[in-house]
Symmetry: C2
């Protein structure tokens, strides 16, 4: 275990001072009028000997770690992992590294992680906030730390937020179902106070009311949902059985849609003849399911790149001692119409046959 070389070792080897070497390494040679010869000598020697500066020491001195703390609900969820991937790529190009951690939407876990990020002196935060961490985030903002929230946000605190038009997305989905002849439309969602979930419900309600239809909402507890995906599918199955007049279902999340499809498969219902299905949040595989599944797609690429852009802006503002301008960017969703929500004439006929047998 040989010790790593420090800038002083280099200095000794080159008969220069650590100061000079530091200037060269940090691109301040011009500004500090270091001679061209010295610059060349230093660079060549660094390259040849493979000197690697200790970033921890640098961070302690400068107060900047070039680390961003990223909090998501679940890094194994394709929505979050694909955002994390793009965010990571983009920030990497700017010399940043990322800590990302999964909160499981748990308040205590999220608080703990924010504390750890803070102790580790991260330069900024990208957060899909769990419920109950409003105060903690407010602290960060008050300290002047760059914070960007995405997917959900707290309307009362002055962060930068990147979200989608959840209400409009759900509204669009219901209107699409109505336009395709469905009228008994259920909404399967989570029992959650989070703004993105409340907005999806709002959009569903608005569309149902505007079309003078009947509201049919199944709310599933979040913990149930996370701890036991199987039970979700059981819940949906029971619900569909009990409410067998339904002809369409809008699922409020990706996972719910997947569990719901499982339930529908088990019930032996045909999609879209017996039941139309639309998912909120697209999925790489929805186009491969048979039938392929209609979905309200989130603009994952835009969410990622805007999140990074806003964070970088905020880091720049902090650098220049300017105030970070809070604000919420709302992105549009796109309804991707596939087979699961469009009845063809041929299909309509088969529906009649099916409805009866389904009573047993």
């Amino acid at each position: 275990l040989k010790k790593k070389r420090s800038i002083h070792d280099l200095a000794r080897e080159l008969n220069l001072s650590a100061t000079t070497i530091s200037f060269v390494l940090n691109g301040k040679a011009e500004e500090k009028r270091i001679s061209g010869d010295v610059v060349k000598k230093v660079n060549a020697h660094v390259k040849r000997t493979g000197y690697q500066p200790n970033q921890v020491a640098k961070s302690l001195r400068t107060g900047k770690t070039k680390i961003i703390g990223m909090l998501v609900e679940d890094i194994a969820d394709p929505f979050f992992s694909s955002i994390a991937r793009v965010v990571e790529e983009n920030l990497y190009k700017l010399g940043y590294k990322i800590f990302h951690s999964s909160t499981d939407n748990k308040t205590e876990r999220a608080k703990e992680l924010l504390r750890i990020f803070r102790e580790r002196q991260v330069d900024g935060y990208i957060i899909a906030p769990s419920p109950g961490i409003e105060e903690d985030i407010e602290w960060l903002v008050k300290e002047g730390k760059p914070v960007v929230l995405f997917d959900r946000y707290f309307p009362k605190i002055k962060t930068k937020n990147i979200v989608i038009d959840n209400e409009g997305g759900a509204f669009k989905a219901v209107m699409h179902l109505v336009a395709n002849g469905y009228s008994k439309i259920a909404f399967v969602t989570l029992d959650s106070d989070q703004v993105q979930m409340k907005d999806r419900l709002k959009g569903y309600n608005k569309a149902i009311v505007s079309k003078k239809l009947q509201k049919q909402v199944l709310q599933i507890g979040y913990s149930e949902y996370k701890n036991d995906p199987l039970s979700v599918s059981v819940r949906v199955r029971e619900y569909l059985n009990k409410n067998n007049m339904l002809d369409a279902v809008l699922f409020a999340t990706n996972y719910l849609a997947v569990s719901g499809l499982q339930a529908i498969k088990e019930l032996g219902l045909s999609i879209p003849e017996d039941l139309a299905v639309v998912g909120f949040d697209d999925n790489t595989h929805f186009s491969l399911f048979s039938p392929s599944v209609t979905a309200v797609a989130q603009p994952v690429g835009d969410i990622s790149s805007l999140t990074v852009k806003e964070l970088i802006d905020a880091l720049g503002a902090e650098e220049k001692q300017e105030k970070i301008k809070p604000g919420t960017i709302v992105l549009d969703t796109e309804l991707i119409v596939r087979e699961s929500s469009v009845r063809s004439e041929k299909n309509k006929i088969s529906l009649v046959n099916k409805k009866k047998s389904r009573v047993n």
Copy 2:
């Protein structure tokens, strides 16, 4: 932007020395015989005032960062993201944070990331190695750094490795197809020198030879695969068209299977009647496809937990100045048989009906 409080601020506030506070904070009160009163006073004050030690300073002093560098091929790939999730959870409990970065399997990218991890003084490494970084990893090992490789490894260097029995998995899959009456079995794989891919091919070959069948292998370039998933599906379509005697396909990766299913769907072939399909690497959604897809499942949970365990062992050994024992753990795969690879009489009939109206 008020300055954060340091241990010396605490010392002043409590009329104690930084030394004493440090001992208390690091649980050395007993060992250093700090009086109970002082311990209580310090803890209470820390709690009340919310002091958070600067971990960067601590790292500089101790040489330990409590950060693990994790290199995967693509964090957005469900295989890697689910492993990352579990690894992160487990290490988190032990006070570690993780940098994870995606290499896209690119040599230069991986080398660069290892350099950055090194500069940041990470305590250990978890790596699904890209081709061409054998030397760089050997360096880390020689320096005595804990390194665990997973998914693939370099047989020549003395790391700890957690891999699966790729050869056995592919072998099992082919034998299963043969047992179900298929005999013209193709293997669609990547044109890759990586050990896990070579072993899958080996397993396929071994089974084909043992059954005296004909080898049929389509190799797709890795860059093509990554840069243009659509082109993969086109390639598979052309291949299946040209080799229309085939009655089964084994796909060597998750992504290949998904693209392949796309191709088969476009060709209008019925699975498993016209063509049986087996994927290597299971996928959350394979069970939901119609027909559901048979897969060689990797024990993701075991891979994750053993990777962590081996890393922790290595960190412990390093701590105690012991030698880190290299070695390769090979885990079994599990063949999950679903509809896509089993012809049944019933399936044959329902196929005909399904085309028309799916009446029971």
